[in-house]
């Protein structure tokens, strides 16, 4: 049994950011999304696949995502998640604030090194 079933977030909102970014490129169903995130995070994120679902529900509630019926690669009917207009806007804001933060961190590190 995994001792800590909660995913470890890199920083608050990292998982949401990853989900939004992934789904904006292409709407997906839950399993595909989980696989994709595992791939891109290079297993850096020790997450249980299930941990995605509370996050997805939160984002549905916030109106960043919506779900519709679609078909999986195996031709099964599945619920597909896709990013809404609001979600797109949120993503842009988040990205810019993360970038600002990184710029800040980089500057601090450079200055500290001099």
């Amino acid at each position: 049994m995994v001792k800590n079933p909660e995913y470890r977030d890199l920083f608050p909102g990292a998982l949401e950011l990853m989900i939004l970014k992934t789904l904006r490129r292409k709407p997906m169903h839950g399993y595909a999304l989980a696989q994709r995130i595992k791939e891109i995070s290079d297993d850096l994120l020790q997450i249980e696949e299930g941990s995605l679902y509370p996050a997805l529900q939160r984002m549905l509630k916030a109106g960043w995502l919506e779900s519709e019926l679609g078909v999986s690669a195996r031709n099964r009917p599945v619920r597909i998640f896709k990013v809404t207009q609001v979600g797109r806007k949120h993503l842009e804001q988040e990205i810019s604030s993360v970038e600002k933060m990184f710029a800040g961190i980089t500057r601090v590190l450079e200055l500290a090194g001099q």
């Binding site: 995994v2 079933p5 169903h29 839950g30 399993y31 595909a32 989980a34 249980e48 696949e49 299930g50 941990s51 679902y53 509370p54 997805l56 529900q57 939160r58 549905l60 509630k61 779900s67 999986s72 195996r74 099964r76 599945v78 619920r79």
Partner: protein, 906 residues
């Protein structure tokens, strides 16, 4: 209305969610099977990588909920269902909680009413009481002239009212007999200072102060209007006869208004200017020159008024203080003519005035009841703790029985926090239920206790209306009780290790040897036992105190004495009438068959008479020895023989001690000891004022008697022969051959025969009067006994519960013992011994608690030490006996186990 739509669409959301998760797993399983796993392997792997499905689903669903609220609701429903399933547990828990919480709320209601509540008037924090530096605020009395002078110079934002102490008057409404009724004389602006408004008619106004005796009007209280006039609006304009003086009712005060002294409820208020007309006679006058029989308003040396100030702006306080003290100083200076002694003069001129917060009114009731109320509150809190321990114990037993169910819940994904939450919900439900039921108990307590705490038939009027403080108190106490009793069981049951519980059989004994020997349940029982011993010892000591008081020899013969209290003030006797009146009263009383003797007194025994005076004691040649303060009592010849007070030295009063002979007096032992020390008091002299040529010679010393209150040591007393000190009297002491009750009716008749105009205040035996004195110790003893018995019963219940449970788990052990040849009495003793061990451990802790507790409560004990060994032994014995009885049932059950069956269960 978004949340409403959300509520409706939620079901669909949940379905979608479950569906998504199912799809996820299916896709994954297919994927894994493509990689060569069998279906079973793939399913297992998919679930493992997904995580705890139930928890994840639950957490995802919570996103759409108000999670705390909804899980609380679910917990409450679940708890309710579980409680319904075990009615015995639920009813015991509810009943004890109702008692525990109810008693606490009830006593707190009293405490609130007596100690905490502000006067029921607007902005009570603006009120202040004027206090003399040498007296408590409620004993600071002032003449009318001072009030008048200060009032004229007050700052604009301050106003001042004057009032007499509430007193009893004889009031006749319509044609009936006059009834003794409490009333008060107040200045015209009294109601304005308290900012009250009439329910009917008008209140008094400053115009009522203008002319001496010129305003025969009265404002009646709401309660009196209700009782006496049935809320009749036509009451305005009707007449009351107050001490034979007709006054017109002009208004009704609002409901609940009683003035500034909590615990009194004047039925009517008269203008101060009516003092002389209605013969109000309660005053302090330290200096000569007072003429109490003339109207008091113009007299600067009769102190009779209490002053209350309302200060609207704190900025006005300095100016107010200046005015007060300036005026007071010039008032004192005007009195210097009456004081010859320069020391005394200096002391008098040093007296100054200050203000005391008047938000809660005068402190009399608070002083009288603060200690007992705090004691009762502490005991009630102990009872509640015992109740908590009891509930916690019962809950632990239930949790133990549910261990298996809990383990299953945990292993299929319930979180521990959630389980704790569930258990706490159950407790809170119980305690809130108990609290609601407790309202009835609280109501009963708050209504009955004042009756138990009041002397005679008069109940102290208290404002017991629930306020925000009481509400907050009961809510806090109910919740705290719930948490307190539920926390340990909840934590313990949530710490169940599902694997070991599920692996082992239902009858396993988890934990090590220590854990089973000192389980939480046993600790709780020990605590219960300890606290109940504390209450039992308290009950024993308070009962013994009460017994000591009632067996106490008060210094007079209480078994054969009747107090006949009368009020001669209202008859308007002239000084010359008194000697023959005394004679006729005594003669008529002694003519009653069964009466041995009757004696006139100006201060009845144990009846709240506190006439006292300062005197200067000097030796025969006129040299001053000391200054003394003593209670004074003028009595007729056979007073000491009648009351049973012993003559210790010198002589008694004789017939020749009359107005024409030298003035004499007899003092009691305490007077002699305190003021004349080693020297023989007989032959010494004293006078009221330093330059007073009238001296009294001390001719005798009598034994001490507890004349004021059986609980108070005798004060210094001076007795005068009444013929040298004629005036109004307080009544007669009547000594009877048999039970004085039998002559009470004839004694009333005797008074009426002598003069039907004399109002009879009270006819009571001294035993009844003493019993009234003991109301408070009796109340405390009674309540502690009730609490102690309750606590003992709960502790026994706890012991019984723990031992039954322990023995049930040890059934097989007992079976083995019996099979190996142990006898049944040996098993019986084994269990009883274990019960006694628990109780004994509790008793040791309880003894320590009891000794500390009794030392704190020493002021409530009389005639015994706080470590009285007999009572401690008795209480401990009772406790152990009760424990043995509680342990007997499980012991009997264990001793009658059939070994074969017991072993088969395993």
């Amino acid at each position: 209305m978004g949340w409403l739509r959300q509520l409706f669409s939620r079901r669909r959301r949940y379905d979608d969610l479950s569906q998504s998760i199912r799809e996820h797993l299916e896709e994954k399983i297919d994927d894994l099977m493509d990689h060569g796993m069998t279906r079973d392997q793939a399913e297992l792997a998919a679930r493992r990588e997904f995580g705890n499905i139930t928890r994840i689903e639950e957490r995802s669903r919570e996103v759409w909920q108000w999670p705390t609220l909804e899980s609380l609701w679910a917990d409450a429903k679940y708890a309710l269902r579980r409680l319904r399933k075990s009615p015995a547990f639920t009813s015991i828990a509810l009943l004890t909680l109702a008692l525990g919480i109810g008693v606490n709320t009830g006593i707190f209601t009293l405490l609130d009413a007596v100690l905490l509540k502000s006067l029921p008037v607007p902005d009570p924090e603006q009120l202040f009481i004027v206090k003399q530096s040498d007296h408590a605020a409620e004993k600071s009395r002032f003449p009318y002239l001072l009030f008048d002078h200060v009032s004229r110079q007050l700052p604009d934002t301050a106003s001042m009212a004057a009032m007499s102490w509430p007193d009893d008057f004889y009031v006749r409404t319509g044609s009936g007999q006059p009834q003794s009724t409490q009333g008060q004389l107040v200045s015209g602006n009294y109601f304005q200072v308290f900012e009250t408004y009439p329910v009917l008619g008008r209140l008094l106004t400053p115009a009522d102060d203008e002319k001496l005796g010129g305003s025969p009007v009265a404002v009646i209280s709401h309660g009196y209007w209700q009782r006496q006039f049935g809320n009749d609006p036509a009451v305005i304009g009707r007449k009351l006869e107050v001490n034979h003086v007709p006054v017109t009712i002009v208004g009704v005060a609002p409901q609940g208004f009683f003035g500034a002294r909590a615990g009194t409820q004047p039925a009517f208020w008269l203008p101060l200017t009516m003092q002389s007309d209605v013969q109000y006679h309660d005053h302090y006058s330290d200096f000569g020159g007072a003429e109490p029989l003339k109207p008091w308003i113009p007299q600067a040396n009769i102190n009779w008024l209490l002053l209350v100030v309302r200060v609207k702006s704190p900025a006005a306080v300095p100016q107010l203080m200046t005015v007060l003290n300036q005026q007071y100083k010039s008032h004192l200076e005007s009195l210097t003519q009456y004081l010859g002694d320069p020391d005394r003069l200096q002391a008098m001129l040093r007296i100054h005035l200050s203000l005391e917060p008047g938000q809660r009114g005068f402190a009399n009731l608070r002083q009288q009841f603060e200690q007992p109320l705090l004691l009762l509150m502490a005991m009630a809190a102990i009872v509640l703790l015992i109740v908590c321990a009891n509930i916690a114990n019962l809950l632990l037993a239930r949790a133990a029985a549910r261990q298996h169910a809990l383990a299953v819940q945990l292993s299929i994904g319930a979180s521990r926090t959630r389980l704790i939450q569930q258990m706490l919900a159950e407790c809170l439900l119980l305690s809130v239920g108990g609290g609601v039921l407790g309202i009835a108990v609280a109501y009963w307590c708050a209504r009955v206790l004042p009756r138990w705490a009041s002397t005679g038939t008069a109940v102290i009027p208290l404002n017991l209306a629930p306020d925000a403080r009481i509400l907050a108190f009961s809510v806090i106490i109910a919740v705290a009780t719930g948490v307190l009793s539920g926390l340990v069981p909840a934590l313990q049951s949530a710490s169940v290790d599902p694997a070991s519980v599920l692996k082992a059989g239902a009858l396993s004994i988890p934990g090590g040897k220590w854990a089973s020997r000192w389980s939480a349940r046993k600790m709780l029982v020990v605590a219960q036992v300890a606290l109940s011993l504390l209450l039992l010892v308290g009950a024993g000591m308070f009962l013994k105190t009460l017994e000591n008081y009632s067996r106490l020899n008060p210094g007079f013969d209480r078994d054969h004495l009747l107090n006949v209290q009368i009020d001669t003030h209202l008859v308007n006797y002239q000084t010359g009438d008194f000697p023959s009146l005394y004679q006729r009263l005594a003669d008529r009383m002694e003519a009653i068959p069964g009466v041995r003797s009757a004696s006139i007194t100006s201060c009845s025994l144990v009846a709240g008479c506190f006439d006292s005076s300062d005197v200067t004691v000097s030796n025969g040649s006129g040299r001053r020895i000391t200054r003394a303060n003593a209670q004074i009592n003028s009595v007729s010849l056979n007073y000491f023989a009648t009351t049973g007070i012993q003559l210790l030295g010198g002589r008694e009063f004789v017939t020749t001690d009359d107005a024409s002979s030298p003035r004499v007096a007899i003092v009691n032992q305490t007077f002699a000891r305190r003021y004349t020390g080693a020297s023989n008091p007989i032959g010494l002299e004293f006078s009221y004022a330093d330059n007073d040529p009238n001296r009294h010679q001390i001719v005798g010393v009598v034994s001490d008697a507890r004349v004021n209150d059986i609980r108070e040591a005798a004060p210094p007393i001076i007795y005068f022969p009444i013929l040298q000190n004629v005036g109004n009297i307080d009544g007669l002491e009547v000594r009877t051959a048999a039970d004085p009750h039998w002559v009470a009716a004839q004694a009333r008749q005797a008074i009426a025969d002598v003069d039907p105009r004399i109002p009879i205040v009270n006819v009571a035996t001294l035993n009844e009067a003493v019993k009234d004195n003991l109301t408070q110790p009796r109340l405390i003893a009674r309540l502690t006994t009730i609490f102690g018995i309750l606590a003992l019963a709960l502790a026994c219940l706890g012991l019984y519960g723990v031992m039954s449970y322990t023995m049930q788990r040890r059934t097989s052990e007992v079976g083995v013992r019996l099979a190996l040849g142990s006898t049944r009495p040996a098993v019986l003793w084994l269990v009883i011994r274990e019960t006694l061990l628990l109780a004994g451990f509790g008793a040791v802790m309880g003894l320590a608690l009891a000794i500390v507790g009794m030392h704190v409560a020493t002021s409530f004990l009389f005639g015994l030490s706080p470590e009285d060994p007999a009572i401690i032994a008795l209480a401990t014995g009772l406790l152990l006996l009760a424990s043995a009885v509680a342990g007997f049932v499980p012991a009997w059950r264990a001793a009658h186990i059939e070994p074969v069956q017991a072993l088969r269960i395993e």
